[in-house]
């Protein structure tokens, strides 16, 4: 069947429910934004321009965008050490992200956080996290807070296959189940926990881990943004209507190393064939071509988006580089609040 977009009269993506053209183009744009942002980081890291270490999201873009495109601006997420994609998809400014990654004063956290602690509460971004599994209870509590305060917001908790072996994952599922919390547990299973294949560390299927607690599990192709989006739409509907949590396992793959620069010491732990196969399943190319096929977008429009996003990332690098380093004395600020309303200067 072909769904026709009412605004434009153009056929909408046949693989999807009838989303407006603008929305489908936006999903493509966001995946491209993440892609270009991460590619730029890889280059910057190689040139030694980034402090600390970074974990890139390249290849997994469809998960973040499929999930976050199903959320409202006032919904919330907690993220991981591999979180740039999540926060971009949730609407973060790449300027302020890049500035944070450079440790500059215009960064989201004024340089205090870095890659693993990017926060923008105004966008519902409750933080990437340096502790594997660390964000799971926090996101569960965010859902508890919203429910208690009578809001219909939902919170998405992103975590990896490795994090699915942390006790807080099960504890949080149990709490979410008995309190029927509006939380969605999204496991990004990219096949590896650092350098070890997931199946060597993780018994059974992650998607099944909530079923003993009555939490529905949905296993989706994490490289198919439409599949991820549809699964999330279902989970969001459940959460918003008080039916409680859902567990989504999205199978995907990271194109780069666990962290940039690992080649120096990790050795070859992933078969080349496996890597090639997954790169052959590029979520952006797949969705872009589907949209062109469906006439939702033209190739020139797609190229246009890519050029614009590439330029925007370049501008973010300039923004970051022009932003000053924080005054060392700021290191002593922000430990304790004096009023309950935050005091972001």
């Amino acid at each position: 069947m072909t769904v026709v977009d009412t605004e434009t009269g153009r056929p909408a993506n046949p693989t999807a429910t009838a989303w407006p053209v603008a929305e489908q183009q936006h999903m493509l744009r966001m995946m491209i934004r993440i892609r270009r942002f991460e590619e730029r980081l890889a280059a910057l890291f190689k040139r030694g321009e980034l402090p600390g270490f970074v974990h890139l999201y390249l290849g997994e873009e469809a998960v973040a965008v499929g999930v976050c495109s199903a959320l409202r601006a006032d919904d919330r997420i907690t993220s991981t050490h591999r979180g740039h994609g999540h926060v971009i998809a949730k609407g973060a400014s790449t300027d302020r992200m890049m500035a944070e990654l450079f440790g500059r004063v215009d960064g989201y956290c004024r340089g205090k956080g870095g890659s693993m602690h990017i926060v923008d509460f105004s966008l519902g971004i409750m933080g990437t996290n340096g502790i594997v599994g660390g964000g799971i209870p926090i996101g569960t509590g965010s859902a508890w807070g919203d429910k208690h305060l009578g809001r219909d917001n939902v919170t998405v908790v992103f975590f990896g296959d490795g994090a699915s072996n942390q006790g807080v994952f099960f504890e949080s599922m149990n709490l979410a189940a008995i309190w029927k919390l509006p939380v969605i547990f999204v496991c990004e299973n990219n096949g590896y926990t650092e350098w070890t294949p997931t199946e060597k560390l993780t018994a059974g299927r992650i998607v099944d881990r909530g079923s003993p607690m009555g939490i529905p599990g949905d296993l989706v192709d994490g490289n198919d943004v439409v599949a991820v989006r549809e699964a999330t739409d279902k989970a969001v509907a459940r959460a918003r209507t008080g039916q409680g949590p859902t567990l989504i396992e999205a199978r995907t793959y990271r194109w780069h190393g666990h962290n940039e620069g690992e080649e120096a010491f990790a050795g070859a732990y992933r078969p080349q064939q496996e890597q090639d196969d997954w790169r052959g399943r590029d979520p952006i190319a797949a969705y872009g071509h589907a949209l062109v096929q469906a006439g939702v977008i033209t190739q020139p429009e797609w190229d246009e988006i890519d050029l614009a996003e590439t330029a925007a990332v370049e501008a973010s690098v300039v923004f970051a580089q022009q932003s000053p380093l924080p005054d060392p004395e700021e290191a002593l600020d922000h430990l304790f609040a004096t009023t309950s309303t935050g005091d972001l200067r």
């Binding site: 956290c109 602690h117 660390g134 209870p137 508890w144 208690h148 709490l175 309950s340 935050g342």
Partner: protein, 337 residues
């Protein structure tokens, strides 16, 4: 400092009644829950309350604001971070201080750090309280006092009252405070009784209290060691030795000025802590004075704390490990020798 003065010197007024420590905590909780309906209390069996501080609150505030949790400390301690960011003011009853260990990452690495890491984007008004320290043969896993550890974690305020009066006023301040506060009720104090005003009052965090003025020796006492120090001080009074007993009441922030100015007058310092000696609050305070008040010290400062072993079960063993009146007395006399 009026409040401070009042707490130690004021005579019971008409509006004051003899009140147990745990009930004074409850009065503080009740007052804070009444003034702000974003305040919620969670924890294991908080409806009936094992220790007592939350007992009966459910009758006035219902099961959504006084809510039992599963035995999942790491998760509900961390959940409060998200809930606070979402607009709640959670108060968590951890029941027993030792159980903080189970939730240490969510407490020390998440709750304590999120605000700082975010560049001050959010305030996290959360109170984590527990009955803590030895309770009389509670044995090693129910007798820990974690304030020394938690003092080393930047981002947590730490409250440790020694009287029912302070317990109520500090509970109210802890809940009103926009930061994560750890509130430790030294177990053995729970059943102590003294006069407490009926209406709500706040004792500011970071303001210590002179529990007994004196001129010869300054004794800084923490938690359950405060009544011990006062007993010893009164006894020494008869022997002509004038001991000043200071209760910091909050360990983070610590009222360093009060301690330093007292030592500046007495020239002698004993610090007694309700914790193991190594890296204790006693060590911290002695080191602080040694560094900042060295010139005023007339004698070696003394630390009186637990032996460096887990707390054993059998009464004579437990007694040997914990701080006894005589230990404090000997330390005071040592500074005068």
């Amino acid at each position: 400092m009026t409040m401070t003065a009042q707490s130690s010197t004021s005579e019971p007024t008409a509006t004051q009644r003899p009140t147990y420590f745990v009930n004074a905590m409850k009065e503080g909780l009740h007052a804070a829950m009444s003034e702000d309906d974003r305040v919620v209390v969670i924890g294991e069996d908080v409806d009936r309350s094992v220790i007592g501080a939350t007992r009966g609150l459910i009758d006035d505030f219902g099961p959504m604001r006084v809510r039992n949790t599963p035995i999942s400390e790491a998760t509900f301690v961390g959940a409060c971070v998200g809930a606070a960011a979402a607009g709640l003011r959670p108060v968590v009853d951890l029941m027993v201080g030792s159980f903080f260990y189970v939730a240490m990452d969510q407490l020390a690495d998440q709750a304590a750090k999120l605000r700082y890491m975010s560049g001050g984007q959010v305030a996290l008004p959360i109170v984590y309280f527990a009955a803590t320290g030895p309770s009389g043969s509670g044995a090693a896993q129910h007798s820990e006092n974690l304030h020394p550890m938690l003092m080393n974690v930047a981002g947590l305020k730490i409250v440790m009252p020694s009287t029912p009066y302070d317990a109520k006023g500090l509970m109210i301040s802890a809940i009103r405070d926009p930061n994560p506060v750890v509130y430790l009720q030294d177990f053995v104090l729970g059943g102590t009784k003294s006069h407490v005003p009926e209406d709500a009052y706040a004792i500011p965090l970071g303001v210590g209290d002179v529990k007994k003025p004196g001129t010869d020796v300054t004794v800084v006492a923490i938690g359950a060691t405060v009544p011990k120090a006062l007993r010893v001080a009164k006894a020494l009074e008869k022997e002509g030795i004038s001991v000043e007993v200071i209760d910091p009441r909050t360990l983070v922030p610590l009222d360093e000025d009060l301690i330093l100015s007292s030592v500046a007058r007495t020239g002698r310092l004993v610090v007694t802590d309700s914790a193991r000696l190594t890296c204790s609050a006693a060590s911290e305070i002695v080191a602080m004075v040694a560094q900042s008040g060295f010139g005023t010290l007339k004698a070696a400062p003394q630390r009186v704390a637990w032996e460096n072993v887990p707390v054993p079960f059998s009464p004579p063993l437990e007694k040997r490990v914990l701080v006894q009146d005589d230990d404090i007395r000997r330390a005071i006399l040592a500074t005068l020798a």
